[in-house]
Symmetry: C4
Subunit: 194 residues, 4 copies
């Protein structure tokens, strides 16, 4: 089964998700700078989600780079991942319009958690299809980022009802952890080429 | 005529259709979890349509994998298929907002039926262009799924006006039937390579 | 300059245009079949525009198949074409919501006319870059379709203010003329391969 | 890391941005030509932004043509560029709906300025990864367009509060400067091939 079409479809969906999020930034009616003020939380939540989707695209890109064959279950695991990512614009819009209130902040965490689980499932399927000694398996290694993130999301969901700023802080923290470039796969691939 | 551009265009349209559906999930105004409750039927119909579009993309992917040359009629049969798929977000939104009422449930079935017919026409054109002994012809075989689905859609359309839950059940059933991975084409292709 | 990226970008834009048009089909509030009735003109104008965009994609596909090198002016001529195509959803929506009234019908013709001119400019640039004896030049030949269409659009624009049904008839006629598969380029390319 | 997927994702995002802008052109309710009049400023700002996005796509295309390897920082610099480009529809819509008022005109300049800076960062990363003697480095040369544009944007932002027509004139001027085809990279690449 063709990997390129699999990648192209994923890219297309992620590109659309990342772009339609901006439609939540509704053009304000006033013409003064002050008219923009109510949009600030929507804008900030847009920035956060843009970074998360960038991280997913980036990691998806890396993971498939180390994958050679796409199977039926992978197609569905990928659609499962895209499903949860497609809910990010909704969760982002709800969170932004309600100024990071408790329930929307918790829902945002739930969507991120489900996307993380979906990513993990896809990763396991790819590793399984390639064998434990495969490049990807080595590259992923102990996968501390992948294991820590869901835990932090769970804490963020729970604390959202107590203090939404802690939960927002956790979302930003996880994004920063992933933003630090993940050189694992690059390194392993690089070392093999050498 | 280039198969890759044909695939890329189809992927693009399906990726956009699958993603703009989420725009029907309008951000609610309240900030409590209860504000999400009225969205539940819209969400459920979104999940169902997401799976249907995933199935179409998957089957389209498989079918074209076994196709070597794209002709003019295939281009138009493909656009015909994409036309009916493009109506799925509308039918989904109408069905979800009206809590699976009779008429919207029937319309949903009509759109699925027309898409199934369009897919069958495209499949026949590809088989015809490749000969009865082609891989795709063998792979499709008796095509019981392709033959049963339209019948089930017809029953679902008819029963929608009597009990919409039977018709919803039939839509879910057809989706499940297709979700079971279709290894036919993979098998035939695999056996030939061996 | 890479032809594949040029094609991919054009495909992407056309795929999005063809799909966002369906957003004009707003989900009706009632749940009865009658609630769909006011949408009929919007639906019919959607079908017409879907066919026109399909024709453009198809012809664009064929034309670039016979093109070997993409130059700077071609990039801009292509963006010019995409600009006019991007106005089709707006013209379609206005025409559909006003039940094919005079002004919207005329505007629809203006957008089609400008797109036809933009396509002709792109075609001339490609032919010029490849020489008068090129495959595309022969394939296009006397280009009676390309020459007749703008004239028919002009008549349709003028008659829209007198009888919008004549102008709608002309739009359908031009679409039908183009729907008849254009085997010119295929034939010439085919004959050369032989 | 694959350059093709990097390009495809960028193309996808730019294609969607350029197309969803047209959604700001809301279908008017009246059916007379006069109903279009209030849309004129929205239309003009759409044309301007379409040209800017066309320029960015074009320059992005050229720049990557001279790039051979995509690194992690480039991926993020590219996402940073796409982020600012994704705000163009919002800035365009606000500017158009307020008939080029002062604040929206200034915000439009800010978004263009940030996009220009993001483009410059990406360009520097690519040049750095390829060495000062690389093709791209020579092709970019003194980069007077890239250096002048931010200065003109800054002037346009400042003058928007005094006279928005000067600032609009500057936006048009910068677009015209870039519209003049940038043959630098083509020339250098061409001369090397010779």
């Amino acid at each position: 089964m063709g990997k390129s079409r699999f990648e192209a479809f994923s890219d297309g969906v992620i590109a659309i998700i990342i772009t339609i999020m901006v439609l939540e930034l509704k053009v304000p009616h006033g013409e003064s700078i002050e008219a923009l003020a109510p949009l600030l939380p929507v804008f900030l939540s847009y920035v956060l989600s843009f970074i998360y989707l960038g991280i997913y695209w980036n990691n998806h890109h890396h993971m498939l780079h180390a994958c050679h064959q796409v199977t039926g279950p992978m197609l569905w695991a990928n659609l499962h991942l895209l499903f949860w990512l497609s809910l990010i614009p909704f969760a982002t819009g709800w969170m932004g319009e309600n100024h990071f209130a408790a329930s929307p902040s918790a829902l945002y965490g739930v969507v991120l958690l489900m996307a993380a689980i979906a990513f993990w499932i896809l990763q396991q399927l790819i590793i399984a299809s390639q064998g434990r000694d495969s490049l990807l398996s080595k590259a992923v290694g102990c996968d501390w980022k992948g294991k820590t993130s869901p835990v932090l999301y769970l804490i963020a969901i729970a604390t959202a009802f107590w203090s939404q700023w802690i939960s927002q802080g956790l979302y930003v923290l996880v994004a920063l952890v992933w933003l630090v470039p993940d050189r694992r796969i690059e390194k392993i691939l690089g070392s093999k080429e050498t």
